[in-house]
């Protein structure tokens, strides 16, 4: 153990996908102008909201399950060091090798090194947020190793040299015509007569992936859960590509965020009910794969578990913000968010978009590196209601806004407002002066930024003849 030298580190700059190129309002403006994107998102999120709502309504103890999930996560965060060491011990005893990665760079270095040791030039990958977060694909490519995404949507994103825009449905921003073009341009051995009929597109991916599964000896995965009690790792998925990756290769490398540990096997009873219903709107996900270390003669004979921090310990240090680590990556908050539904995921810059991204990304990077994200919400509260582990996202957003750097003019305006509001006589004089607002007219002509943003699409209210308190005094 190293000596404690102050606050835990944030995710380093220059590696990984937690920071965008421009602030949210600017990126959102571009996204909002894309009618195709908005139609796709509206259709997809409405469909999944309906589906998820129906299967959640079937569960009589859904609220109790949410509370149980929340309590289990709270317990886990309070006991994280002990649970992680227990996980390490059990994985090691079962024949696996555990590596600790402080940040994205170290994790990428460990995984690259392990693949190099096998002498292989290509790896198959299961959809994993952790490896997207650390930019593992970019690191592997730089080291001359070819990563092949095997989840259909991740494959579309990868072949399109694109970025995922949704935690669960990473290619939600693409339509079938675009997918056909990407496949024709990028997929090795694709049939040139491919149409944009979805079953045909899926079959093309299936043919390509099947050959890759059978000829690749190393796989990289993430993990939905790591059970401390038994050293068992779990991945839930829908397509069966994960099962292929977890069973066919000789070597399996799993990158898991340290917050994904759960205390006991029995805890899955709660999470495996919550996750599929909240995320895909299924009663149960089609594939749940679990493995414990190495089993001679069955499955990968070399298993490595990379435990990733990359800013998580810093999040854990914040009493209010730490519950963002409870997230089980279901994406229910994205699907109900009125902001996400209109801007899509790319506007958030980070690989974690939507409400959970707006509280997680700034905490992982330090809020100054994602200062616009805590403001990328109207605080409508739909995310809190939808979260299967009851993360109070609006409260964390407000908490992070309090830490974010503020523009100078805004600071001055807020200070002046607070000063006035605490002095009723001054406040009353300001109310009377407010009638001068008539000068700018209802269209707000000549208003300075950011107030002109209001007036661009909304009339200003006509100032009343007298304030309520003047009326009250005169009655």
């Amino acid at each position: 153990m190293s000596t404690f030298l102050g606050m835990p580190a944030h995710a380093p700059r220059g590696v990984g996908n937690l920071r965008g190129d421009e602030p949210f309002p600017a990126a959102a403006r571009t996204a909002l102008a894309n009618q195709q994107l908005r139609r796709n998102l509206q259709h997809a999120t409405t469909t999944i909201r309906g589906k998820s709502g129906r299967v959640i309504a079937e569960v009589p103890d859904w609220q109790e399950l949410r509370s149980a999930g929340s309590a289990l996560k709270t317990y886990t965060m309070a006991n994280l060091p002990r649970l992680l060491e227990q996980l390490e011990e059990k994985v090691t005893a079962a024949g696996g090798v555990v590596h600790w990665a402080a940040d994205a760079e170290e994790a990428n270095r460990i995984v690259t090194g392990l693949i190099r040791e096998t002498g292989e030039q290509r790896v198959i990958k299961i959809k994993s947020m952790a490896t997207q977060e650390i930019g593992l694909n970019e690191a592997l490519e730089a080291a001359g190793i070819e990563p092949v995404e095997t989840d259909l949507a991740e494959l579309i994103v990868q072949l399109g040299h694109d970025k995922p825009s949704h935690i669960l449905v990473p290619a939600i921003h693409r339509n079938r015509a675009e997918i056909r073009e990407i496949f024709l341009r990028e997929m090795p051995g694709v049939d040139p007569d491919l149409t944009d009929n979805p079953p045909e597109l899926a079959a093309a991916a299936r043919r390509y992936l099947r050959e890759t599964f059978l000829s690749t000896k190393v796989a990289v995965s993430g993990a939905n859960f790591g059970i401390a009690e038994t050293g068992t790792l779990a991945v839930v998925e829908s397509e069966g590509n994960g099962r292929m990756c977890l069973t066919l290769p000789d070597t399996l490398i799993t990158v898991m965020g340290i917050e994904k540990v759960v205390p006991a096997w029995q805890d899955l009873e709660v999470f495996l009910q919550l996750l599929p219903r909240a995320s895909t709107g299924e009663r149960m996900n089609p594939y749940t794969s679990m493995w414990t270390g190495v089993t001679p003669g069955d499955g990968p004979q070399n298993f490595h578990l990379v435990l990733l921090d990359n800013g998580r310990t810093a999040v854990l240090a914040d009493e209010v913000g730490r519950s963002a680590l409870h997230c089980i990556r279901c994406s229910a908050c994205l699907n109900v968010c009125p902001v996400y539904e209109r801007t899509g995921g790319h506007a958030y810059g980070s690989v974690y978009p939507g409400p959970i991204g707006a509280v997680l990304s700034p905490q992982l990077t330090g809020v100054e590196d994602n200062a616009s994200l805590p403001y990328a919400s109207s605080l409508c509260g739909a995310c809190f209601d939808a979260c299967p582990v009851k993360i109070d996202i609006p409260s964390i957003l407000v908490h992070l806004r309090n830490q974010a750097p503020h523009p100078r003019t805004e600071k001055a305006a807020m200070a002046a407002a607070a000063y006035t509001m605490d002095r009723p006589r001054l406040y009353q004089r300001a109310q009377r002066a407010f009638k001068l607002a008539k000068l700018v007219g209802r269209r707000g002509k000549g208003l300075p930024p950011p107030l002109n943003g209001w007036a661009a699409s909304r009339d200003l209210p006509a100032p009343p003849e007298e304030s309520f308190r003047d009326w009250w005094r005169g009655r």
Partner: protein
């Protein structure tokens, strides 16, 4: 009953009709309304924009002003939401446990208008008359912070002459969100565009809600697009009678 009115800074300054209607309604129902002049703002704008320490004097002012009152009403789900869910937190994070305890006590006696009418005064039919086609936008903080549920709709259903039409996708945010509307003006406008489309689909003459802030937003958009639909605060509809209408 003697009821203290917290007008909210927005209604006091910009939408006095909503606060006046609250007074007229409660007086018509036989209650005494008082308006302590020391009141200003609940401080929500400061808390939600990231200036929590500046909200502390406003929290203290609210608590001090309304501490002597048995019942407080505000014509705003959002401001009552802030009083109930943020005031004690602001005091506690500033290390003022005494203020936090007092804030919790006052918040426990502070009600949004529909809560006051139904839960405290036990009245669903306030004897109002309002002969218009009306649609109701539930507002996020009334809906998800206060959980007022169908209380406003129960009140509206008892208004004579009123034709209540259901708003499609009613539970989606209108895009106001306080300073969100200017800090993320484009996204806010996109949300508003969909809300206005749904309001127009109902064919209503009037869109109502329990919050002057959301109505200012929806009304600002409807006015800009010359849609002809007016926004009217719930209190004004409930205060309206055959004579006044």
């Amino acid at each position: 009953m003697r009821i203290a009115l917290f007008a909210t800074c927005l209604a006091d300054t910009m939408f006095p009709a909503a606060a006046k209607a609250t007074v007229q309604l409660l007086e018509r129902l036989g209650h005494e309304v008082v308006f302590p002049l020391e009141q200003t703002c609940c401080g929500q704008m400061h808390v939600n924009t990231g200036y929590q320490s500046q909200a502390l004097p406003l929290v203290r002012r609210y608590v001090r002003t309304f501490e002597p009152c048995d019942v407080v009403v505000a014509p705003s789900g959002s401001c009552v939401g802030s009083i109930r869910h943020q005031h004690a937190m602001v005091a506690r994070q500033a290390g003022d446990e005494g203020l936090a305890t007092a804030a919790e006590a006052v918040a426990g006696r502070t009600y949004e208008l529909s809560e006051l009418l139904i839960d405290v005064l036990g009245v669903e039919d306030v004897g109002a008359y309002y002969p218009h086609r009306v649609t109701y936008h539930p507002t996020c903080h009334s809906l998800r912070v206060l959980r007022v549920g169908d209380r406003p709709l129960r009140l509206l259903r008892n208004v004579r002459g009123l034709d209540l039409v259901e708003l499609p996708a009613a539970e989606q945010c209108c895009g106001f969100g306080g300073t969100f509307a200017v800090k993320n003006a484009d996204t806010s406008s996109a949300m508003l565009a969909d809300k206005m489309r749904h309001v127009l689909e109902t064919g209503a003459d009037v869109c109502t809600a329990g919050d002057a802030s959301c109505l200012m937003h929806i009304g600002g958009g409807l006015s800009r697009s010359r849609a002809g639909v007016r926004t009217v605060h719930l209190a004004e509809i409930l205060a309206s009678t055959a004579v006044a209408a």
